[in-house]
């Protein structure tokens, strides 16, 4: 399950709360060259590595997807995806360009886009992270709109008007996908034995 959202939409909180309910779901920890923010933990929030190390991993073909964002590199390791290929339920917090690469290369993924309840709310949330000037705010909004433009190929959309509601919907998508007949062929065959 790949979850994308413009910056400040509450995606990280939603994913964190959701996996608390399902300890068997593995959270994909991305690699990044961005420095950690206060409180972020190496190996839990991200693997914080140097640009050289990141580029070495690219050269070795160790990323399932990677992108550059505001001068920093972000990527999902192939090792993480191999757990998915072996049947582990995996949740990934990946921005749309990276998500698209995953969609093209892995079958059976579920793509969820989280939107703030309104455009005004999006602007307000973007401004919360500190606005240095009008220009930067405009740039952030444009980046968010570029991301939202990718919504057209996502499977599901959640409007995050209330955190608990958004978590409930993410949980519903997970349970519904687990109930899709084409994912239950083995279990149905066992039943018929």
């Amino acid at each position: 399950m790949v979850v994308s959202a413009p910056s400040g939409t509450g995606k990280t909180s939603i994913c964190r709360e959701f996996i608390k309910m399902y300890p068997n779901i593995e959270f994909s920890v991305s690699y990044t060259t961005r420095p950690p923010r206060p409180g972020e933990v190496h190996g839990k929030d991200y693997y914080f590595i140097s640009e050289d190390a990141f580029k070495e991993q690219i050269a070795q073909g160790e990323f399932a997807e990677w992108v550059e964002n505001y001068g920093y590199l972000y990527g999902t390791s192939r090792k993480t995806m191999s757990a998915f290929l072996k049947g582990t339920d995996l949740i990934l917090d990946v921005e749309p360009r990276g998500a698209k690469t995953l969609k093209q290369n892995y079958l059976g993924g579920v793509f969820v886009f989280i939107l703030p309840p309104s455009m005004d709310e999006l602007k307000w949330r973007l401004s919360r992270r500190g606005v240095e000037n009008e220009g930067i705010m405009k740039e952030r909004l444009e980046a968010a709109m570029d991301e939202i433009g990718e919504i057209v190929w996502y499977d599901y959309v959640i409007f995050n008007d209330r955190l608990e509601r958004a978590i409930d919907y993410l949980r519903a998508i997970y349970l519904a996908e687990k109930s899709r007949r084409d994912r239950l062929i083995g279990k149905i065959r066992n039943f018929l034995k």
Copy 2:
């Protein structure tokens, strides 16, 4: 949302409990020529009508689907389906042959098949309704297996091992389907305005 299940799988209880949570969902009351069982209410469980009246409605093209089952007729009225076409969320308790007709004639439906947790449980549940003799039990099991054979074209499968769990899954399927991007095009367009 069309829900089907072999006899005695708990389908009716699941649907009833589910719609209690969502009063805006309309429950489709079928027409039948079968006499009411103790406790069944005309207009709530079924519209109990005579065979002549049923055949008259068939002749008038008033049924969206109808089938014969053990000598009795069952059908869904076109009026009910017109609420669905106008955007009302509708839940229908329809057996597979009727469900297939609905799938062929109405776009956007979601088809859910409920299975008992095991074949032994199915046999036990079929026997609960009183077994007159071995032959009737065999006939019932064959009918159930015929219905289960239709599972191949359903969207979702719920194993009803515990009532609360089955209701939770039905609810999840409902919420997930409401979150499908292709069902939210109007809302996404409003967001972008």
